[in-house]
Symmetry: C2
Subunit: 229 residues, 2 copies
């Protein structure tokens, strides 16, 4: 484990300190979770590499699911671009600017909630910093982890970043409209790589741009949101 970011180097941060950090986060995450439960809001931690298509996915979701009330917290080191894009797509959204932090933690999310009208939403997307490592370590109080993996990232990412894919409830294989232009990428190989690390592999392939595969994702989302009570 890295110490603080939760992903590293036992030489520099002691195990007790590391545990103290994670357990402080855990308490805050439980606090967030009780808020989400109280209001019947499905909170989803949306993770993935930079450029894996997280924001485009949420924009397309808003366009195609007008009956779902959506809110979002959007994490980035700098800029509020993603939150602005989501707001233009009709999602109540707020940016969390992390400075140089490589992941969101439960405290940042709690602070973000204070500045967002999220309680009446069916679903709150917590769009994490683009990073296939560190965000997987930090519980934010969410009910589900959704990981976006773009076909352009190649075939073996699940095996190379197992911590992230082990933690996923659902993997969305994005940008499949580009598949015909990627002679070295085969869908079966991505599925095989995922099956080697994800206990119960659940993969939906889609394109936010063409809309292909979006219905299955919206089905998952609506089913999950209605289960929130």
């Amino acid at each position: 484990m890295c110490d603080v970011c939760g992903c590293g180097d036992p030489e520099v941060v002691s195990v007790p300190l590391h545990e103290r950090i994670l357990s402080a986060n855990e308490r805050r995450a439980e606090h967030n979770r009780s808020h989400f439960r109280e209001h019947g809001v499905l909170a989803i931690n949306v993770m993935g590499s930079p450029g894996s298509g997280k924001t485009a996915l949420l924009e397309a979701t808003a366009r195609r699911a007008p009956d779902l009330s959506l809110a979002a917290l959007s994490g980035d080191l700098a800029t509020e671009h993603d939150a602005e894009r989501l707001a233009r797509a009709g999602i109540r959204a707020r940016a969390i600017t992390t400075g140089s932090a490589c992941h969101l933690d439960a405290g940042m999310v709690h602070h973000g909630l204070d500045h967002l009208d999220w309680e009446s939403a069916d679903c709150l997307f917590i769009e994490n910093v683009g990073n296939l490592v560190c965000p997987a370590i930090y519980d934010l109080g969410q009910r589900a982890n959704v990981v976006a993996l773009a076909v352009t990232e190649g075939e073996d990412k699940p095996q190379k970043y197992p911590v992230m894919f082990r933690a996923a409830d659902l993997v969305l294989l994005t940008k499949i409209d580009l598949l015909p232009h990627l002679p070295d990428v085969r869908l079966e190989r991505i599925e095989q790589s995922l099956a080697r690390v994800m206990p119960e592999p659940r993969l939906l392939a889609l394109s936010a741009r063409t809309g292909e595969g979006m219905d299955a994702w919206l089905g998952w989302l609506e089913e999950s949101a209605h289960g929130t009570g």
Copy 2:
């Protein structure tokens, strides 16, 4: 600053501890640097998102620069896939498997050097863990930072991950063969985003697959390697 990973949360790790971590790494990096200098080896820290095309770039480099003697250390959380690919391309290569660490540090690199015949190489590539945040903080003793950014990652990544792009000596815009299939991505916008964070923007656009733009990169590499003395 995150504490340990170098990218985070002042609540959990004190500034003195954070400084101690970075200064311990700094000493080890200087030690590596003196090794590289002694042997006249150009060491390059190759960074970028997961799937940005770092390994494909190095494979194509080996194929197109038979006169350059190349060695590589390849960092990944799990698997030795990248080092195996590089070895097949004719690069003396060794994997550094980081477990759950989100970045390489100078100690891991020093340990890797012990198991690699790198001293007679013109150039040593240190292929970092795919991550646009944390690797930028850790000096490995390299002479240059090269950041791979794929056109598929979108237009605004430099502004959203400024720490990485500020530290770059050269940015390689990869996978430009896909540009005709990306209606929402314009090269000028990427250049503009980069110009807002990189003090002296230096961008080369290329495709490892088609070879377009590779000559300019090889020119940069040969010029830099010959300057090593």
